[in-house]
Point group: C2
Chain length 281, copies 2
Protein backbone atom coordinates (compact mmCIF):
# COMPACT_ATOMS: atom_id res chain seq x y z
CA UNK A 1 0.00 0.00 0.00
CA UNK A 2 2.82 2.34 0.84
CA UNK A 3 4.45 1.55 -2.50
CA UNK A 4 1.22 2.11 -4.35
CA UNK A 5 0.91 5.60 -2.88
CA UNK A 6 4.55 6.27 -3.79
CA UNK A 7 3.99 5.19 -7.37
CA UNK A 8 0.81 7.23 -7.63
CA UNK A 9 2.55 10.33 -6.31
CA UNK A 10 5.30 10.07 -8.95
CA UNK A 11 2.91 9.44 -11.83
CA UNK A 12 0.37 12.07 -10.70
CA UNK A 13 3.15 14.65 -10.35
CA UNK A 14 4.24 13.88 -13.91
CA UNK A 15 0.67 14.14 -15.16
CA UNK A 16 -0.13 17.43 -13.43
CA UNK A 17 3.15 19.02 -14.58
CA UNK A 18 2.28 18.11 -18.18
CA UNK A 19 -1.27 19.47 -17.97
CA UNK A 20 -1.05 22.98 -16.47
CA UNK A 21 -4.25 25.01 -16.21
CA UNK A 22 -6.33 21.96 -17.17
CA UNK A 23 -9.11 20.73 -14.96
CA UNK A 24 -8.51 17.06 -14.14
CA UNK A 25 -11.50 15.22 -12.56
CA UNK A 26 -10.62 13.11 -9.52
CA UNK A 27 -12.31 10.15 -11.19
CA UNK A 28 -9.59 10.26 -13.87
CA UNK A 29 -6.99 9.34 -11.25
CA UNK A 30 -9.18 7.02 -9.20
CA UNK A 31 -9.95 4.98 -12.33
CA UNK A 32 -6.35 5.07 -13.56
CA UNK A 33 -5.00 3.66 -10.27
CA UNK A 34 -8.13 1.78 -9.17
CA UNK A 35 -8.00 3.71 -5.91
CA UNK A 36 -10.62 5.34 -3.72
CA UNK A 37 -11.28 9.03 -4.27
CA UNK A 38 -10.33 9.67 -0.66
CA UNK A 39 -6.85 8.25 -1.28
CA UNK A 40 -6.51 10.37 -4.41
CA UNK A 41 -7.52 13.43 -2.40
CA UNK A 42 -4.80 12.68 0.15
CA UNK A 43 -2.26 12.25 -2.65
CA UNK A 44 -3.25 15.60 -4.13
CA UNK A 45 -2.86 17.28 -0.75
CA UNK A 46 0.71 15.98 -0.52
CA UNK A 47 1.46 17.14 -4.07
CA UNK A 48 -0.07 20.55 -3.44
CA UNK A 49 1.93 21.06 -0.25
CA UNK A 50 5.16 19.96 -1.92
CA UNK A 51 4.56 22.13 -4.99
CA UNK A 52 3.96 25.16 -2.76
CA UNK A 53 6.88 24.39 -0.45
CA UNK A 54 9.34 24.07 -3.35
CA UNK A 55 8.06 26.97 -5.46
CA UNK A 56 6.71 24.79 -8.26
CA UNK A 57 3.16 26.15 -8.18
CA UNK A 58 -0.08 25.09 -6.60
CA UNK A 59 -3.08 22.84 -7.11
CA UNK A 60 -6.50 24.46 -7.21
CA UNK A 61 -9.43 22.32 -6.18
CA UNK A 62 -12.70 22.97 -7.97
CA UNK A 63 -15.58 21.40 -5.99
CA UNK A 64 -18.75 19.85 -7.35
CA UNK A 65 -19.76 17.29 -9.95
CA UNK A 66 -17.92 19.10 -12.76
CA UNK A 67 -14.99 19.72 -10.44
CA UNK A 68 -11.49 18.42 -10.15
CA UNK A 69 -7.99 19.70 -9.68
CA UNK A 70 -5.94 22.18 -11.68
CA UNK A 71 -2.16 22.74 -11.62
CA UNK A 72 -1.18 26.41 -11.69
CA UNK A 73 2.57 26.91 -12.28
CA UNK A 74 3.86 29.67 -9.99
CA UNK A 75 7.31 31.10 -9.57
CA UNK A 76 7.71 32.79 -6.18
CA UNK A 77 8.53 36.50 -6.22
CA UNK A 78 11.92 35.91 -4.54
CA UNK A 79 12.96 33.31 -7.07
CA UNK A 80 11.77 35.53 -9.91
CA UNK A 81 13.77 38.45 -8.52
CA UNK A 82 16.90 36.32 -8.32
CA UNK A 83 16.43 34.98 -11.84
CA UNK A 84 15.87 38.48 -13.25
CA UNK A 85 19.08 39.61 -11.52
CA UNK A 86 20.94 36.76 -13.19
CA UNK A 87 19.42 37.71 -16.55
CA UNK A 88 20.52 41.33 -16.13
CA UNK A 89 24.07 40.20 -15.40
CA UNK A 90 24.04 37.78 -18.34
CA UNK A 91 22.79 40.47 -20.73
CA UNK A 92 25.16 43.20 -19.61
CA UNK A 93 28.25 41.41 -20.93
CA UNK A 94 30.08 43.74 -23.35
CA UNK A 95 30.71 40.97 -25.90
CA UNK A 96 26.97 40.96 -26.61
CA UNK A 97 27.20 44.32 -28.33
CA UNK A 98 26.57 44.16 -32.06
CA UNK A 99 26.90 46.91 -34.67
CA UNK A 100 23.99 49.34 -34.44
CA UNK A 101 23.57 48.93 -30.69
CA UNK A 102 21.83 45.57 -30.98
CA UNK A 103 22.41 42.80 -28.48
CA UNK A 104 23.36 39.20 -29.21
CA UNK A 105 20.71 37.15 -27.36
CA UNK A 106 20.83 33.98 -29.46
CA UNK A 107 22.56 31.94 -26.76
CA UNK A 108 19.97 32.93 -24.13
CA UNK A 109 16.99 32.31 -26.41
CA UNK A 110 18.63 29.12 -27.69
CA UNK A 111 18.75 27.53 -24.24
CA UNK A 112 15.53 25.58 -23.60
CA UNK A 113 16.14 25.49 -19.86
CA UNK A 114 16.37 29.32 -19.65
CA UNK A 115 13.48 29.74 -22.07
CA UNK A 116 11.29 27.37 -20.06
CA UNK A 117 12.04 29.33 -16.90
CA UNK A 118 11.11 32.56 -18.70
CA UNK A 119 7.90 30.80 -19.72
CA UNK A 120 7.12 29.95 -16.11
CA UNK A 121 7.65 33.57 -15.07
CA UNK A 122 5.20 34.90 -17.64
CA UNK A 123 2.73 32.10 -16.87
CA UNK A 124 2.87 33.19 -13.23
CA UNK A 125 2.14 36.86 -13.84
CA UNK A 126 -0.69 36.11 -16.30
CA UNK A 127 -2.12 33.11 -14.43
CA UNK A 128 -5.27 34.98 -13.36
CA UNK A 129 -6.23 36.25 -16.78
CA UNK A 130 -8.51 34.53 -19.23
CA UNK A 131 -6.19 33.49 -22.06
CA UNK A 132 -7.17 31.33 -25.05
CA UNK A 133 -4.05 31.65 -27.14
CA UNK A 134 -0.53 33.13 -27.15
CA UNK A 135 0.49 35.23 -30.15
CA UNK A 136 3.98 36.14 -31.29
CA UNK A 137 5.73 37.35 -34.43
CA UNK A 138 8.38 35.29 -36.23
CA UNK A 139 11.22 34.57 -35.54
CA UNK A 140 12.95 35.28 -32.26
CA UNK A 141 9.89 35.41 -30.03
CA UNK A 142 8.74 31.92 -31.05
CA UNK A 143 10.56 29.81 -28.42
CA UNK A 144 9.47 32.16 -25.65
CA UNK A 145 5.86 32.15 -26.86
CA UNK A 146 5.80 28.32 -26.85
CA UNK A 147 7.29 28.19 -23.38
CA UNK A 148 4.60 30.54 -22.03
CA UNK A 149 1.80 28.76 -23.91
CA UNK A 150 3.02 25.37 -22.69
CA UNK A 151 2.77 26.55 -19.07
CA UNK A 152 -0.68 28.06 -19.66
CA UNK A 153 -1.97 25.02 -21.57
CA UNK A 154 -3.02 27.02 -24.65
CA UNK A 155 -1.95 27.05 -28.33
CA UNK A 156 0.32 29.52 -30.15
CA UNK A 157 -0.42 31.57 -33.26
CA UNK A 158 2.42 33.00 -35.25
CA UNK A 159 2.28 36.32 -37.07
CA UNK A 160 4.62 36.65 -40.05
CA UNK A 161 6.29 39.52 -41.77
CA UNK A 162 6.52 37.56 -45.04
CA UNK A 163 3.71 35.76 -46.79
CA UNK A 164 4.06 32.00 -46.97
CA UNK A 165 2.13 29.94 -49.45
CA UNK A 166 1.70 27.08 -47.00
CA UNK A 167 -0.80 28.68 -44.64
CA UNK A 168 -3.70 29.49 -46.95
CA UNK A 169 -5.52 32.81 -46.95
CA UNK A 170 -4.24 35.48 -44.59
CA UNK A 171 -5.30 38.80 -43.08
CA UNK A 172 -2.65 41.47 -43.35
CA UNK A 173 -2.20 44.95 -41.89
CA UNK A 174 0.30 47.73 -42.37
CA UNK A 175 1.99 49.19 -39.34
CA UNK A 176 4.63 51.78 -38.64
CA UNK A 177 7.78 50.48 -37.03
CA UNK A 178 8.12 52.74 -34.00
CA UNK A 179 11.88 53.14 -34.13
CA UNK A 180 12.57 53.27 -37.89
CA UNK A 181 9.24 54.92 -38.79
CA UNK A 182 9.02 52.70 -41.88
CA UNK A 183 5.74 51.22 -43.02
CA UNK A 184 5.76 47.43 -42.79
CA UNK A 185 3.33 44.56 -43.28
CA UNK A 186 2.42 41.69 -40.98
CA UNK A 187 -0.01 38.90 -41.60
CA UNK A 188 -1.78 36.03 -39.92
CA UNK A 189 -3.41 32.94 -41.41
CA UNK A 190 -7.18 33.42 -41.40
CA UNK A 191 -8.02 30.08 -39.88
CA UNK A 192 -5.41 30.26 -37.15
CA UNK A 193 -7.41 32.53 -34.80
CA UNK A 194 -11.08 32.37 -33.77
CA UNK A 195 -13.18 35.49 -33.40
CA UNK A 196 -13.44 36.68 -29.81
CA UNK A 197 -10.30 34.92 -28.64
CA UNK A 198 -8.43 36.31 -25.63
CA UNK A 199 -4.85 36.70 -26.75
CA UNK A 200 -1.64 37.06 -24.79
CA UNK A 201 1.03 38.82 -26.90
CA UNK A 202 4.60 37.65 -26.26
CA UNK A 203 7.77 38.98 -27.89
CA UNK A 204 11.49 39.03 -27.21
CA UNK A 205 12.22 42.71 -27.69
CA UNK A 206 10.27 45.98 -27.51
CA UNK A 207 11.70 49.30 -28.57
CA UNK A 208 9.00 51.86 -29.31
CA UNK A 209 6.37 49.12 -29.47
CA UNK A 210 5.56 49.35 -33.19
CA UNK A 211 5.57 45.60 -33.75
CA UNK A 212 3.37 44.95 -30.73
CA UNK A 213 1.08 47.77 -31.80
CA UNK A 214 0.85 46.05 -35.18
CA UNK A 215 -0.19 42.81 -33.48
CA UNK A 216 -2.88 44.71 -31.56
CA UNK A 217 -4.24 46.11 -34.86
CA UNK A 218 -4.21 42.62 -36.31
CA UNK A 219 -6.23 41.37 -33.31
CA UNK A 220 -8.86 44.04 -34.03
CA UNK A 221 -9.22 42.61 -37.55
CA UNK A 222 -9.94 39.23 -35.96
CA UNK A 223 -12.29 40.80 -33.38
CA UNK A 224 -10.01 39.30 -30.73
CA UNK A 225 -9.06 40.78 -27.35
CA UNK A 226 -5.66 41.63 -25.90
CA UNK A 227 -5.43 39.66 -22.66
CA UNK A 228 -1.91 40.87 -21.89
CA UNK A 229 1.48 41.80 -23.30
CA UNK A 230 4.78 40.30 -22.18
CA UNK A 231 8.28 41.06 -23.47
CA UNK A 232 11.66 39.76 -22.44
CA UNK A 233 13.58 43.00 -23.03
CA UNK A 234 12.32 46.56 -23.26
CA UNK A 235 14.51 49.52 -24.10
CA UNK A 236 14.36 52.81 -22.28
CA UNK A 237 14.65 56.27 -23.68
CA UNK A 238 12.14 55.96 -26.49
CA UNK A 239 10.27 59.26 -26.94
CA UNK A 240 6.77 57.98 -27.38
CA UNK A 241 5.99 54.45 -26.33
CA UNK A 242 3.14 53.11 -28.46
CA UNK A 243 2.07 50.47 -25.95
CA UNK A 244 0.88 51.26 -22.43
CA UNK A 245 0.43 48.24 -20.21
CA UNK A 246 3.02 45.49 -20.61
CA UNK A 247 5.12 43.13 -18.50
CA UNK A 248 8.85 43.21 -19.19
CA UNK A 249 11.49 41.11 -17.48
CA UNK A 250 14.46 43.37 -18.09
CA UNK A 251 14.99 46.93 -19.28
CA UNK A 252 17.92 48.07 -21.37
CA UNK A 253 18.69 51.50 -19.93
CA UNK A 254 21.91 52.32 -21.71
CA UNK A 255 23.89 50.95 -24.64
CA UNK A 256 27.18 52.71 -25.32
CA UNK A 257 28.74 51.16 -28.43
CA UNK A 258 31.86 53.34 -28.10
CA UNK A 259 32.66 52.42 -24.53
CA UNK A 260 31.28 48.91 -25.01
CA UNK A 261 29.04 49.34 -22.04
CA UNK A 262 25.56 47.89 -21.56
CA UNK A 263 23.31 48.74 -18.66
CA UNK A 264 20.43 46.43 -17.83
CA UNK A 265 17.95 46.58 -14.95
CA UNK A 266 14.79 44.75 -13.88
CA UNK A 267 11.69 45.48 -15.97
CA UNK A 268 8.09 45.93 -14.89
CA UNK A 269 7.60 42.26 -13.92
CA UNK A 270 7.97 42.61 -10.17
CA UNK A 271 5.39 45.41 -9.99
CA UNK A 272 2.87 42.99 -11.45
CA UNK A 273 3.54 40.01 -9.19
CA UNK A 274 3.81 41.95 -5.95
CA UNK A 275 0.16 42.10 -5.03
CA UNK A 276 -1.00 39.19 -7.11
CA UNK A 277 -3.01 36.41 -5.58
CA UNK A 278 -3.54 32.95 -6.93
CA UNK A 279 -7.11 32.48 -8.05
CA UNK A 280 -9.45 30.83 -10.47
CA UNK A 281 -9.49 32.04 -14.05
CA UNK B 1 8.85 10.04 7.92
CA UNK B 2 6.23 8.76 5.56
CA UNK B 3 5.32 12.31 4.61
CA UNK B 4 8.94 13.28 4.09
CA UNK B 5 9.39 10.46 1.59
CA UNK B 6 6.17 11.52 -0.13
CA UNK B 7 7.32 15.11 -0.41
CA UNK B 8 10.74 14.06 -1.68
CA UNK B 9 9.19 11.83 -4.32
CA UNK B 10 7.05 14.68 -5.67
CA UNK B 11 9.89 17.20 -5.70
CA UNK B 12 12.47 14.76 -7.10
CA UNK B 13 10.07 13.75 -9.86
CA UNK B 14 9.65 17.41 -10.78
CA UNK B 15 13.43 17.94 -10.72
CA UNK B 16 14.29 14.90 -12.84
CA UNK B 17 11.57 15.73 -15.41
CA UNK B 18 13.05 19.23 -15.79
CA UNK B 19 16.64 17.97 -16.18
CA UNK B 20 16.58 15.21 -18.82
CA UNK B 21 19.90 13.68 -19.87
CA UNK B 22 21.68 15.53 -17.03
CA UNK B 23 23.76 13.65 -14.48
CA UNK B 24 22.48 14.52 -11.00
CA UNK B 25 24.76 13.45 -8.11
CA UNK B 26 22.98 11.71 -5.23
CA UNK B 27 24.55 14.22 -2.85
CA UNK B 28 22.52 16.94 -4.55
CA UNK B 29 19.32 15.33 -3.27
CA UNK B 30 20.68 14.14 0.07
CA UNK B 31 21.80 17.71 0.87
CA UNK B 32 18.61 19.27 -0.45
CA UNK B 33 16.40 17.11 1.77
CA UNK B 34 18.93 16.45 4.56
CA UNK B 35 18.35 12.73 4.03
CA UNK B 36 20.67 9.72 3.98
CA UNK B 37 21.93 8.60 0.58
CA UNK B 38 20.34 5.21 1.19
CA UNK B 39 16.90 6.84 1.48
CA UNK B 40 17.54 8.85 -1.69
CA UNK B 41 18.51 5.62 -3.47
CA UNK B 42 15.24 4.01 -2.40
CA UNK B 43 13.32 7.07 -3.63
CA UNK B 44 15.07 6.86 -6.99
CA UNK B 45 14.19 3.18 -7.31
CA UNK B 46 10.52 4.00 -6.80
CA UNK B 47 10.70 6.84 -9.35
CA UNK B 48 12.53 4.64 -11.86
CA UNK B 49 9.98 1.83 -11.53
CA UNK B 50 7.06 4.24 -11.86
CA UNK B 51 8.60 6.01 -14.87
CA UNK B 52 9.12 2.67 -16.60
CA UNK B 53 5.70 1.32 -15.66
CA UNK B 54 3.89 4.40 -17.00
CA UNK B 55 5.97 4.92 -20.14
CA UNK B 56 7.57 8.16 -18.97
CA UNK B 57 11.17 7.01 -19.40
CA UNK B 58 13.83 5.58 -17.17
CA UNK B 59 16.53 6.57 -14.70
CA UNK B 60 20.08 5.49 -15.45
CA UNK B 61 22.38 5.05 -12.49
CA UNK B 62 26.02 5.95 -13.06
CA UNK B 63 28.15 4.41 -10.29
CA UNK B 64 31.31 5.83 -8.72
CA UNK B 65 32.48 9.12 -7.20
CA UNK B 66 31.55 11.14 -10.29
CA UNK B 67 28.30 9.19 -10.60
CA UNK B 68 24.66 9.97 -10.08
CA UNK B 69 21.39 9.50 -11.79
CA UNK B 70 20.16 10.56 -15.22
CA UNK B 71 16.59 10.79 -16.51
CA UNK B 72 16.16 9.46 -20.05
CA UNK B 73 12.73 10.30 -21.52
CA UNK B 74 11.39 7.29 -23.41
CA UNK B 75 8.15 6.79 -25.26
CA UNK B 76 7.28 3.12 -25.59
CA UNK B 77 7.00 1.74 -29.12
CA UNK B 78 3.29 0.93 -28.66
CA UNK B 79 2.47 4.43 -27.51
CA UNK B 80 4.53 5.89 -30.36
CA UNK B 81 2.70 3.72 -32.87
CA UNK B 82 -0.66 4.86 -31.56
CA UNK B 83 0.36 8.52 -31.59
CA UNK B 84 1.69 8.25 -35.14
CA UNK B 85 -1.62 6.66 -36.19
CA UNK B 86 -3.47 9.62 -34.65
CA UNK B 87 -1.15 12.03 -36.47
CA UNK B 88 -1.81 10.30 -39.81
CA UNK B 89 -5.54 10.61 -39.27
CA UNK B 90 -5.23 14.26 -38.21
CA UNK B 91 -3.14 15.11 -41.28
CA UNK B 92 -5.28 13.30 -43.82
CA UNK B 93 -8.25 15.67 -43.37
CA UNK B 94 -9.17 17.12 -46.80
CA UNK B 95 -9.61 20.66 -45.40
CA UNK B 96 -5.83 20.79 -44.85
CA UNK B 97 -5.24 20.97 -48.60
CA UNK B 98 -3.85 24.31 -49.73
CA UNK B 99 -3.22 25.55 -53.27
CA UNK B 100 -0.11 23.94 -54.76
CA UNK B 101 -0.58 20.67 -52.88
CA UNK B 102 0.70 22.08 -49.58
CA UNK B 103 -0.79 21.05 -46.25
CA UNK B 104 -2.05 23.35 -43.49
CA UNK B 105 -0.17 22.15 -40.37
CA UNK B 106 -0.27 25.37 -38.35
CA UNK B 107 -2.81 24.03 -35.86
CA UNK B 108 -0.74 20.90 -35.18
CA UNK B 109 2.55 22.78 -34.85
CA UNK B 110 0.80 25.49 -32.82
CA UNK B 111 -0.29 23.07 -30.10
CA UNK B 112 2.43 22.86 -27.41
CA UNK B 113 1.04 19.61 -26.03
CA UNK B 114 1.29 17.87 -29.45
CA UNK B 115 4.66 19.47 -30.14
CA UNK B 116 6.01 18.32 -26.76
CA UNK B 117 4.89 14.79 -27.48
CA UNK B 118 6.62 14.94 -30.88
CA UNK B 119 9.71 16.13 -29.01
CA UNK B 120 9.57 13.13 -26.68
CA UNK B 121 9.33 10.77 -29.66
CA UNK B 122 12.44 12.19 -31.32
CA UNK B 123 14.28 12.31 -27.97
CA UNK B 124 13.50 8.60 -27.60
CA UNK B 125 14.85 7.55 -30.98
CA UNK B 126 18.01 9.66 -30.63
CA UNK B 127 18.59 9.01 -26.92
CA UNK B 128 21.67 6.82 -27.51
CA UNK B 129 23.51 9.27 -29.76
CA UNK B 130 25.99 11.87 -28.64
CA UNK B 131 24.19 15.16 -29.28
CA UNK B 132 25.48 18.60 -28.27
CA UNK B 133 22.95 20.78 -30.01
CA UNK B 134 19.76 20.68 -32.11
CA UNK B 135 19.70 22.65 -35.36
CA UNK B 136 16.71 23.79 -37.36
CA UNK B 137 15.86 26.33 -40.02
CA UNK B 138 13.40 29.18 -39.42
CA UNK B 139 10.42 29.26 -39.11
CA UNK B 140 8.13 26.27 -38.89
CA UNK B 141 10.63 23.78 -37.50
CA UNK B 142 11.47 25.98 -34.50
CA UNK B 143 8.86 24.74 -31.98
CA UNK B 144 9.64 21.11 -32.81
CA UNK B 145 13.39 21.71 -32.49
CA UNK B 146 12.92 23.28 -29.04
CA UNK B 147 10.72 20.43 -27.90
CA UNK B 148 13.35 17.87 -28.93
CA UNK B 149 16.21 19.90 -27.45
CA UNK B 150 14.32 20.37 -24.20
CA UNK B 151 13.94 16.60 -23.82
CA UNK B 152 17.61 16.01 -24.67
CA UNK B 153 18.83 18.81 -22.39
CA UNK B 154 20.78 20.61 -25.13
CA UNK B 155 20.55 24.07 -26.79
CA UNK B 156 19.09 24.99 -30.19
CA UNK B 157 20.74 26.84 -33.06
CA UNK B 158 18.62 28.42 -35.73
CA UNK B 159 19.61 28.67 -39.36
CA UNK B 160 18.04 31.54 -41.30
CA UNK B 161 17.18 32.14 -44.89
CA UNK B 162 17.38 35.90 -44.43
CA UNK B 163 20.20 37.84 -42.86
CA UNK B 164 19.39 39.60 -39.61
CA UNK B 165 21.50 42.41 -38.29
CA UNK B 166 21.03 41.33 -34.69
CA UNK B 167 23.15 38.19 -34.70
CA UNK B 168 26.58 39.55 -35.69
CA UNK B 169 28.78 37.91 -38.29
CA UNK B 170 27.41 34.86 -40.08
CA UNK B 171 28.56 31.99 -42.25
CA UNK B 172 26.42 31.49 -45.33
CA UNK B 173 26.17 28.81 -47.99
CA UNK B 174 24.24 28.43 -51.21
CA UNK B 175 22.16 25.35 -51.74
CA UNK B 176 19.82 24.01 -54.36
CA UNK B 177 16.26 23.54 -53.27
CA UNK B 178 15.59 19.94 -54.20
CA UNK B 179 12.04 20.38 -55.41
CA UNK B 180 12.17 23.80 -57.11
CA UNK B 181 15.83 23.47 -58.25
CA UNK B 182 16.37 27.14 -57.38
CA UNK B 183 19.60 28.33 -55.77
CA UNK B 184 19.00 29.69 -52.28
CA UNK B 185 21.06 30.99 -49.36
CA UNK B 186 21.04 29.98 -45.71
CA UNK B 187 23.15 31.36 -42.90
CA UNK B 188 24.09 30.78 -39.30
CA UNK B 189 25.58 33.18 -36.75
CA UNK B 190 29.29 32.45 -36.39
CA UNK B 191 29.31 32.33 -32.63
CA UNK B 192 26.23 30.17 -32.30
CA UNK B 193 27.98 26.84 -33.01
CA UNK B 194 31.29 25.45 -31.69
CA UNK B 195 33.68 23.54 -33.93
CA UNK B 196 33.33 19.78 -33.56
CA UNK B 197 29.76 19.90 -32.20
CA UNK B 198 27.52 16.89 -32.70
CA UNK B 199 24.36 18.24 -34.25
CA UNK B 200 20.87 16.78 -34.51
CA UNK B 201 19.00 18.32 -37.46
CA UNK B 202 15.23 18.71 -36.94
CA UNK B 203 12.71 20.07 -39.43
CA UNK B 204 8.98 19.96 -40.01
CA UNK B 205 8.87 18.97 -43.67
CA UNK B 206 11.19 17.20 -46.12
CA UNK B 207 10.48 16.97 -49.83
CA UNK B 208 13.61 16.18 -51.83
CA UNK B 209 15.82 17.08 -48.87
CA UNK B 210 17.42 20.23 -50.31
CA UNK B 211 17.02 22.29 -47.16
CA UNK B 212 18.41 19.53 -44.94
CA UNK B 213 21.25 19.01 -47.39
CA UNK B 214 21.97 22.73 -47.10
CA UNK B 215 22.15 22.40 -43.30
CA UNK B 216 24.60 19.51 -43.71
CA UNK B 217 26.82 21.70 -45.94
CA UNK B 218 26.62 24.47 -43.35
CA UNK B 219 27.74 22.01 -40.66
CA UNK B 220 30.80 21.18 -42.77
CA UNK B 221 31.72 24.88 -42.74
CA UNK B 222 31.61 24.74 -38.94
CA UNK B 223 33.53 21.45 -38.87
CA UNK B 224 30.55 20.02 -37.00
CA UNK B 225 29.11 16.50 -37.26
CA UNK B 226 25.64 15.32 -38.19
CA UNK B 227 24.44 13.24 -35.23
CA UNK B 228 21.05 12.54 -36.77
CA UNK B 229 18.20 13.90 -38.88
CA UNK B 230 14.56 13.98 -37.82
CA UNK B 231 11.56 15.31 -39.74
CA UNK B 232 7.88 15.38 -38.90
CA UNK B 233 6.61 14.84 -42.45
CA UNK B 234 8.37 13.40 -45.47
CA UNK B 235 6.85 13.25 -48.92
CA UNK B 236 7.05 10.23 -51.15
CA UNK B 237 7.55 10.09 -54.86
CA UNK B 238 10.52 12.41 -55.12
CA UNK B 239 12.87 11.16 -57.87
CA UNK B 240 16.19 11.60 -56.14
CA UNK B 241 16.23 12.00 -52.40
CA UNK B 242 19.27 14.07 -51.38
CA UNK B 243 19.39 12.75 -47.82
CA UNK B 244 19.89 9.09 -46.96
CA UNK B 245 19.42 8.29 -43.29
CA UNK B 246 16.65 10.16 -41.51
CA UNK B 247 13.85 9.55 -39.04
CA UNK B 248 10.39 10.64 -40.16
CA UNK B 249 7.18 10.35 -38.18
CA UNK B 250 4.76 10.37 -41.10
CA UNK B 251 5.00 10.04 -44.84
CA UNK B 252 2.76 11.86 -47.31
CA UNK B 253 2.17 9.26 -50.01
CA UNK B 254 -0.44 10.96 -52.12
CA UNK B 255 -1.92 14.43 -52.44
CA UNK B 256 -4.70 14.77 -54.97
CA UNK B 257 -5.78 18.43 -55.11
CA UNK B 258 -8.56 17.66 -57.61
CA UNK B 259 -10.22 14.94 -55.59
CA UNK B 260 -9.26 16.65 -52.32
CA UNK B 261 -7.67 13.47 -51.09
CA UNK B 262 -4.60 13.16 -48.86
CA UNK B 263 -2.95 9.88 -48.05
CA UNK B 264 -0.66 9.69 -45.02
CA UNK B 265 1.15 6.70 -43.54
CA UNK B 266 3.73 6.07 -40.81
CA UNK B 267 7.28 7.22 -41.58
CA UNK B 268 10.60 5.54 -40.82
CA UNK B 269 10.36 6.13 -37.03
CA UNK B 270 9.23 2.67 -36.01
CA UNK B 271 12.07 0.98 -37.90
CA UNK B 272 14.50 2.94 -35.75
CA UNK B 273 12.95 2.23 -32.36
CA UNK B 274 12.24 -1.46 -32.93
CA UNK B 275 15.58 -2.88 -31.89
CA UNK B 276 16.75 0.06 -29.82
CA UNK B 277 17.97 -0.43 -26.30
CA UNK B 278 18.30 2.17 -23.59
CA UNK B 279 21.92 2.86 -22.81
CA UNK B 280 24.49 5.40 -21.75
CA UNK B 281 25.44 8.11 -24.22
Amino acid sequence: MKFRRSGRLVDMTNYMLHHPHSLVPLTFFSEKYKSAKSSISEDLTIIKETFEQHGIGTLLTVPGAAGGVKFIPQVEANEALQFIDELCELMAKPERLLPGGYLYLTDILGNPSIVNKLGRLFATVFSNRKIDVVMTVATKGIPLAYAVAGQLGVPVVMVRKDSKVTEGSTVSINYVSGSSKRIQTMLLAKRSLKEGSNVLIIDDFMKAGGTINGMISLLEEFKANVAGIGVLVETEGVEERLVDEYVSLVKLTDVDTREKHIQVMAGTYLQFVKDKEIGED
